[in-house]
């Protein structure tokens, strides 16, 4: 097997902005003193006249982005997820969401895989916060190919979009030649009949790995990549609920309010089946190497295998109770 190529999606974000700048003349980029980390520095180097550093002032950056969008620009406001969705939440809600302005938020360093910086910078709540804003689109790409495609899709969509990128280099699992990104549409990566694993972001690769182990045990696993958490592909989720009878969700985010919650909300309306959530439980992270933290917090193929086994027994218990 060929060596797995890894790349952080924040890198893909910076490169995509640069690569799309010629085609999209209204694209401008804002950052809050983190261009080297968010990788918007790549854009800045190529298009210095279209890059604006706002300094360490995220609230104002989001407001400036709103004003630029109200005047026809397509601003990409970039900072860490903690500050984009956390610190600037109310500005995103009132100055971008309420007027439904065409602002794109590039939030990097999302989740526990921030690593050594620890809990203050590990944002496990951003999906929950952003998806409660009416009209906000929330995208969490799983690899380089999907991240680039998501940036283009965000540009082609008129309205506010929150894009979530990671710090850690992750395997490239999609084929750049054939991959098609459709906003709001989940992707069935592997079909299966016993259980659905709905994953997002870096957990998609873990889900695929887990499926291999489970298949060897004779469990047929359907793996679905949910890159767009809002609007959620309810049709696909409900189809999976009906066809496999149980869903395991996997995300690098709190189990409160993220993909797991969104999936649970959907199935309770269309086809109530057990939903087992894998994510960061109701706790803060801490410092450590990203890879070790992911393992510790159960964001791994091994834990997906374990939870899928539990989910399947839960499915039969529920079925017997009927």
């Amino acid at each position: 097997m060929a060596d797995v190529i890894k790349k952080a999606t924040r890198e893909s974000y910076g490169e995509a902005l640069r690569d799309l700048a010629e085609e999209y003349k209204d694209l401008v980029v804002l950052d809050a003193d983190l261009a080297a980390a968010t990788k918007t520095g790549i854009f800045k180097k190529a298009y210095p006249d279209r890059f604006f550093d706002c300094g360490i002032a995220e609230a104002n950056m989001m407001g400036v982005a709103a004003g630029l969008a109200a005047s026809g620009k397509i601003p990409f406001a970039s900072t860490f997820a903690m500050f984009a969705a956390g610190r600037a939440y109310e500005i995103v809600r009132n100055s971008i969401g309420y007027p439904h302005l065409n602002v794109k938020i590039g939030a990097t360093h999302a989740g526990i895989s921030v690593g050594e910086d620890g809990a203050t910078h590990q944002c496990n709540e951003d999906i929950a916060l952003m998806r409660t804003i009416p009209g906000m689109t929330v995208i969490n790409p799983c690899d380089d190919v999907e991240a680039r495609a998501a940036v283009r899709a965000a540009l082609d969509f008129n309205g506010p979009v929150y894009m979530r990128f990671g710090r850690l280099a992750v395997p490239i699992i999609n084929d750049a030649e054939t991959y098609k990104f459709e906003l709001g549409k989940g992707v069935v990566l592997k079909d299966g009949t016993d259980v659905t694993v709905a994953a997002t972001g870096l957990m998609v690769n873990e889900a695929l790995e887990a499926a291999k182990t489970l298949e060897a045990e004779g469990i047929s696993v359907r793996v679905v990549n949910i890159h767009t958490i809002k609007p959620l592909d309810k049709e696909l989720i409900c189809k999976c609920a009906k066809e496999t009878g149980v869903i395991v969700t996997a995300e690098e985010h709190s189990v409160i309010g993220g993909l797991g919650s969104a999936v649970a909300e959907a199935v309770t309306e269309c086809c109530p089946v057990p939903v087992v959530k894998i994510g960061v439980n109701d706790e803060f992270g801490h410092s450590g190497p990203a890879v070790d933290l992911l393992k510790e917090f159960g964001l791994s193929a091994d834990n997906i295998v374990k939870k899928v086994r539990e989910a399947i027994s839960l499915k039969f218990k529920t079925a017997k109770a009927d």
């Binding site: 109200a70 500005i91 100055s95 309420y98």
Partner: protein, 279 residues
């Protein structure tokens, strides 16, 4: 300013104030005090200064206005109605269920350039609009009115830093210095003073004006035109509740609507002022 023009602006401002009273009375809520303190400035902007056309509200070359102190929407709506963006009749349904005129400015209302009202946010959006104007080499200006209490919000100073750094000389921020906020005098609540020194220290060109004297207003905006390389802050000395005797300089009228009796008295006073101007 010649006498005829001044008289005309005074008459329009008087009608704008009547709209404020009409709106808040019918809404049984809203913010008359701070609406009345900015009525003259808004009248000047919309009738003597800004390049705007109600028939073409989305013209990309137009001047922009952002009411950062969005709770004084009744004054903005009233001046927009006077200007012809929508019928004056709309003011009577301010804040009602199903009405167009929301409690705070909403971008979907004709003539409103930005949703605002959560304090400290409008100035950032105004700075973004000014930056867009620079990028597109457009000549438009962006005006934004802030409250003197509002500038206690940290975001205002983030925006102040940003606008000066990017030399947004097409941005004019007006601070409505009526001296009162919900909890009392601004100097007693958590003082933002000295306001002029603060903006100057942030790299802005600062001008002061009398918010209820059209000569002073005209002179201030004329000076703003001459400034290059810096954003402009106009600190306007104003009276909260201006034009309605019992509301003037009374903190209680920050966010209280007049009852029937108070409405009648306020309208009688404003009608008398208008009659005097028309005589």
């Amino acid at each position: 300013m010649d006498a005829a023009m001044k008289k005309n602006l005074q008459k329009i401002a008087c009608k704008v104030r009547m709209g404020v009273i009409e709106g808040t009375y019918n809404a049984k809520s809203g913010h008359p005090g701070g609406s009345l303190s900015i009525s003259d400035t808004l009248t000047y902007l919309y009738f003597a200064k800004m390049n705007v056309d109600p028939a073409n509200p989305d013209n990309s070359d137009r001047d922009r206005f952002v009411l950062s102190k969005g709770h004084t929407a009744p004054a903005l709506y009233s001046v927009l109605a006077q200007k012809g963006y929508f019928p004056e009749e709309e003011l009577k349904s301010l804040r009602h269920i199903g009405a167009m005129l929301q409690g705070h400015p909403c971008i979907h209302i004709p003539g409103v350039d930005m949703s605002s009202g959560s304090l400290g946010q409008g100035i950032s959006a105004a700075a973004g609009m000014a930056l867009a104007g620079k990028l597109d080499n457009k000549a438009y200006k962006v005006y934004s009115i802030l409250g003197d209490g509002e500038i206690e919000e940290g975001q205002v100073w983030e925006a102040a830093m940003f606008a000066a750094h990017y030399k947004l000389d097409n941005l004019v921020a007006i601070v409505d210095n009526n001296g009162l906020q919900i909890d009392g005098k601004i100097t007693e609540v958590c003082s933002p003073e000295p306001i002029t020194d603060k903006f100057a220290a942030f790299g802005w060109h600062v001008i002061t004006m009398d918010a209820h004297d059209f000569d002073s207003i005209e002179a201030a905006f004329a000076e703003a035109e001459t400034v290059t390389g810096k954003p402009v802050a106009i600190v306007q000395k104003s009276t909260k509740g201006k034009g309605v005797s019992f509301m003037e300089d009374q903190v209680g009228w920050h966010g209280t609507a007049p009852n029937k009796e108070q409405y009648d008295q306020a309208m009688a006073e404003l009608n008398a002022q208008l009659k005097e101007l028309e005589d």
